[in-house]
């Protein structure tokens, strides 16, 4: 799941980057970049960090 989390984070960045070519208006670009950041944060907090918490030291 750690690798999945990292891949989701990268995908979020790629979406932000794609906004430069698939959208031409500032509003559409902003929406895509914000969606990319949201995906990245999900990968970080919802997937990667959660994977580490499953085997956290304090649970043992």
């Amino acid at each position: 799941m750690v690798v999945v989390g990292l891949l989701i984070m990268l995908a979020g960045f790629l979406l932000s980057l794609l906004s430069l070519t698939v959208a031409s208006t500032v509003g559409a670009r902003m929406a895509l970049v914000l969606a990319g950041i949201a995906i990245t944060l999900f990968g970080l907090i919802g997937v990667l960090n959660r994977a580490y918490l499953k085997n956290a030291l304090w649970k043992r």
Partner: protein, 547 residues
């Protein structure tokens, strides 16, 4: 008789006083302005230097010092020429900028002492030597890594820096084509400060200034690893960050890379703008710290079995707050120094930048103090200190582009944000951050990047353009939504790329040498097992908890 005479006299005087003044005569037509006469060598030679006998008497009022006698002459036989005088003016401008950039760089270097105090004070006394050692050695590692390759990757393709006399040798950027536009990825000149003509006075100045900036980012990470990071792993991790992670992102933002050119290539404001590094330094440091913190796991005793966070107080709040003061002082090098000069190209704005820095630190500290006071009933010292730093981190990026009201607002929001973020990181993410570095530098660094896209007021003017786009940096509140998009793409790169690369590098280190010390060493304290000497050998160390 006298009674009659006095009114008559008064009447005469008043009539004289009311006599209309003579109409103003039209001034004679001024003679036509003489055409300017160009200065020649003869004019320059006719300027008298103070006589030696006068000079021998001393110069208490300073009127005899710094005259034509002090202008360097290129050919003693010819004497002073106009070319000599003009060259001296140019060199004086660059000299002022060199001195400014170097002195502000020295201030930033002294921030290492602030970080050392802050982090060590927030740790337990049994880890004092280990934490101080990390803060000392990270400086040495940083200098070496940056000289070796980091500087070249970051600044090797920046092009001429006019404030420092051109720095012409830094002119080779590696670029690829993305969406039909050139994307600068890293610089190529400047390896060992010797290659491709980079043994150059201007290059040396920019190296020193950028090196101390880079080292600040490296130091941020040591705070999160405190009390459990293996010293060997710390050395390797810091070296890699100084060689790769930091310089690459710094190139994208400051070294003529793709983020800086979002304006020129895609019409997004003036491209990604980050005056002194809310993103480049603080967010890179904070995000790397987050990657390490997740991987290291919390200190023994930080969480109960049901996941409740326990406070592990530091051992010396006095040096914590002393560290905050040192950092705040050093920040006057950080932000105003980022103009890379005091003369020419709109650099007199350094006054505004210094005031913005001061205002944001104040509003950050006050906002954090009030927030904690209202929520928990006491004005917590360490959170107030973190609020001060949060305000400073947040204004680092916008300081060159915003006005004083914007600075106060940015700092105040950072002061509250840091409190919320500390709570989120500790209780929701359950990442143990002994000094609050993730929140202060990571969260508030990202806020600073965003704030440029909101609060930049379009009044700054550094030579008429920024990132090769004419005009001044202007945020959403002053009419340019494109600038906000450029800033958001920078944030996306920080979270999506810098985090992933940092995580990958530290993951490799973990696999090879291991990131975390053994439980026995951690319980004993890292001073003896890792460094071999106690920080406080003559004290009897007592822990308030069994951990």
């Amino acid at each position: 008789m006298t009674r009659r005479l006095l009114p008559a006299l008064l009447l005469a005087v008043s009539m004289w006083a009311q006599t209309p003044a003579p109409a103003p005569t039209t001034p004679p037509a001024s003679p036509p302005a003489a055409a300017p006469v160009p200065l020649t060598d003869v004019d320059v030679k006719s300027i008298d230097a103070p006589k030696p006998e006068l000079r021998a008497k001393g110069d208490p009022d300073g009127s005899l010092t710094g005259t034509v006698a002090d202008v360097s002459v290129s050919d003693a036989k010819k004497g002073l020429t106009l070319a000599d005088a003009i060259n001296q003016i140019g060199q004086n401008k660059i000299a002022v900028n060199f001195v400014w950039t170097l002195i502000t760089g020295y201030l930033v270097m002294f921030m290492q002492a602030g970080f050392a105090f802050l982090e060590t004070g927030l740790c337990r006394s049994k880890n004092a030597n280990h934490t101080m050692m990390m803060n000392l050695i990270v400086y040495a590692i940083g200098v070496f890594a940056y000289w070796l390759i980091g500087f070249s990757l970051q600044m090797g393709g920046v092009g001429g820096i006019a404030n420092l006399g051109g720095t012409a040798p830094l002119a080779r950027e590696f670029t690829i084509n993305v969406f039909g536009k050139p994307f600068g990825l890293f610089g190529q000149n400047g390896l060992f400060l010797m290659s491709s003509g980079t043994y150059d006075v201007g290059v040396m100045v920019i190296f020193l200034f950028q090196m101390v900036f880079m080292d600040t980012a490296l130091t941020i990470v040591t705070g999160v690893g405190a009390e459990r990071w293996k010293f060997t792993a710390f050395v390797v991790s810091s070296f890699l960050m100084g060689c790769i992670t930091y310089p690459i992102f710094a190139n994208w933002a400051w070294g003529n890379g793709w983020l800086a050119n979002l304006g020129a290539n895609f019409g997004l404001g003036k491209g990604y703008c980050d005056w002194a590094g809310s993103g480049v330094i603080h967010a890179v440091g904070g995000i790397t710290a987050l990657a390490l913190g997740i991987m290291l796991g919390p200190r023994i005793g930080k969480y109960t079995r049901d996941g409740k966070a326990l406070a592990i107080p530091g051992h010396d709040i006095v040096i914590v707050l002393t560290g905050c003061f040192i950092l705040a002082f050093g920040w006057f090098g950080f932000n105003p120094g980022s103009s890379l000069g005091a003369s020419g190209s709109g650099n007199l704005r350094i006054g505004s930048i210094a005031v913005n820095t001061m205002l944001a630190s104040s509003s950050g500290a006050l906002a954090a103090m009030l927030y904690v006071w209202l929520r928990f009933g006491k004005p917590d010292a360490s959170m107030s200190g973190n609020g001060l730093l949060a305000g400073l981190v947040a204004i680092t990026g916008p300081s060159g582009f915003v006005n004083p009201v914007g600075a106060i607002i940015i700092g105040a929001i950072a002061g509250v944000l840091v409190c919320l973020s500390v709570s989120f990181v500790e209780t929701v993410m359950k990442v143990d951050d002994p000094v609050g570095a993730i929140s202060v530098h990571g969260t508030c660094g990202l806020w600073g990047v965003l704030a440029v896209g909101l609060f930049a007021d379009g009044k700054s003017n550094y030579g008429g353009s920024w990132n090769s786009v004419n005009g001044s940096v202007t945020g959403l509140f002053y009419g340019d939504a494109g600038q906000l998009v450029a800033q958001l793409i920078g944030i996306s790169a920080l979270l999506g790329l810098v985090f992933v690369v940092s995580f990958g590098l530290n993951f490799l280190i973990d696999a090879v040498v291991g990131n975390r010390v053994c439980a026995k060493s951690e319980l004993e304290g890292l001073d003896l097992p890792e460094i071999g000497v106690l920080g406080y050998p003559e004290f009897e160390l007592k822990s308030p908890s069994p951990y």
